[in-house]
């Protein structure tokens, strides 16, 4: 089906405003306060899964390339 079959049934009819939307909140939430070395700067809300040298952003919508030099944290 054409995408316009979907569009034409929408109640959102006000004109498009050409803006670049961005996430309301940016920095990765650190999973533990003991992790101080994570310098991930991705524009994402997901937590930084601080494992030594194995930081990865778990947000499926994030396009970051986290390269955390984290020392991990104590349980």
């Amino acid at each position: 089906m054409s995408i316009y079959e979907f569009i034409n049934t929408s109640t959102a009819t006000f004109d498009f405003v050409d803006i670049a939307v961005s996430n309301l909140k940016s920095k990765i939430l650190k999973s533990d306060d003991n992790c101080n070395d994570c310098d991930c700067d991705c524009d994402c809300q997901s937590r930084c899964d601080c494992q030594p040298n194995d930081c990865d952003c778990m947000n499926t919508e994030c396009n970051c390339d986290c390269d955390c030099d984290c020392k991990g944290y104590d349980d």
């Binding site: 089906m1 054409s2 995408i3 316009y4 079959e5 979907f6 569009i7 049934t9 929408s10 109640t11 959102a12 009819t13 006000f14 004109d15 498009f16 405003v17 050409d18 803006i19 670049a20 939307v21 961005s22 996430n23 309301l24 909140k25 940016s26 920095k27 990765i28 939430l29 999973s31 994402c44 809300q45 997901s46 937590r47 899964d49 494992q51 194995d54 990865d56 778990m58 947000n59 499926t60 919508e61 994030c62 396009n63 390339d65």
Partner: protein
């Protein structure tokens, strides 16, 4: 601010490996596909997608379905992505991972990260919500993952039906040993309206999350309803704690979603409305040109129309964009404000 377009190194990709699934979740956006077992991406097509993703310098793909772990070439696809140095988030209900052999095969793949979509919080509700009696097995899987050194995530979808037990659910997750859960709102999609009383839903979430905040388990929550519907103090609190996310790949024009037949979708739920057909492109160059064409950009302009003139003067416009476009198939903003 200039509107971003599809560009190298910008964006994230989804590969829809299949439509078949070993559960039948009430809120599933894929329900109208009939979970057709014939709709399955071939291995050759999956490699083509990964080649394109690699050429576009996108470094992460989400493997989705249906249930992607059921795909016959599931591990071959992950291994091919590894050759291209691409990591794979596996969006899964976890049922296949209960099998020890399968689980160990996933552990061997350092570029694969399971994101377990936990459907409910008890045996009875798993049966009611998914049709499968598997709560004990999912609990066993989570405990196994926690003991392993595999990075993984857990997510939970909040619908009108389960919102009032959100605190109880998160407490159960905490007791399982989970430290953080990704929360999201249920999608309403063509044929399946799952948030039918928005005002009540908003009130219930605000109430429940205030209770969840008394627990030690942490969460981050992705908002798809317009920001203006929420109590400002509530939003500011989530913002201060850095646990709220808004806008989606469609609004940011950053997502590259391949359907099982390689048609391109604007949104995972809109699989009946592809914007580019598979036969229209061959490689990253022709696809990028198409995605940046006036024709496709005009589709996005029409999709992203605002629900109200009030949006244009809203302080949250750039961070909300009027909310998820799916919402405006079933609701009118005037009824809500």
């Amino acid at each position: 601010m200039e509107n971003k377009r599809f560009a190298k190194g910008y964006g994230i990709s989804w590969l829809t490996l299949n439509r078949e699934c070993n559960m039948r979740c009430k809120w599933c956006y894929g329900c109208s596909s009939g979970y057709d077992t014939k709709k399955s991406m071939t291995f050759e097509d999956a490699k083509k997608c990964i080649d394109i993703v690699s050429d576009m310098e996108i470094k992460k793909i989400n493997l989705i379905g249906g249930e992607p772990t059921m795909h016959p070439n599931f591990f071959d696809i992950i291994d091919y992505a590894a050759e291209k140095k691409i990591s794979c988030n596996v969006v899964t209900n976890g049922l296949k991972l209960v099998d020890e052999t399968f689980f160990n095969e996933l552990l061997k793949r350092p570029n694969a990260f399971p994101s377990i979509s936990i459907k409910s919080d008890s045996k009875e509700s798993y049966i009611s919500d998914t049709g499968v009696n598997c709560w004990d097995r999912i609990v066993g899987l989570i405990k196994k993952l926690l003991k392993s050194n595999k990075t993984f995530g857990c997510t939970y979808v909040i619908s009108n039906e389960n919102v009032n037990k959100l605190y109880k659910t998160m407490k159960t997750f905490q007791e399982l040993g989970l430290k953080n859960v990704g929360l999201s709102f249920c999608y309403s999609c063509p044929g399946n309206v799952m948030i039918y009383d928005v005002k009540q839903y908003v009130k219930d979430i605000e109430t429940q999350l205030k209770m969840v905040d008394q627990l030690s388990i942490k969460y981050n929550i992705h908002f798809t309803l317009p920001v203006c519907l929420w109590d400002k103090e509530f939003i500011d609190n989530l913002r201060k704690r850095k646990i709220i996310s808004t806008v989606c790949q469609l609004q940011q024009k950053s997502g590259l979603i391949f359907d099982t037949n390689l048609d391109i979708l604007v949104c995972n739920t809109l699989y009946d409305y592809p914007i580019v057909k598979a036969e229209e492109y061959n490689d990253a160059k022709t696809l990028t040109k198409l995605l940046n064409s006036d024709k496709i950009m005009n589709v996005y302009k029409d999709l992203l129309r605002l629900p109200s003139k009030k949006c244009t003067t809203c302080e949250y416009l750039e961070n909300c964009g009027g909310g998820c476009v799916l919402t405006w198939q079933y609701l009118k903003l005037d009824d809500l404000i």
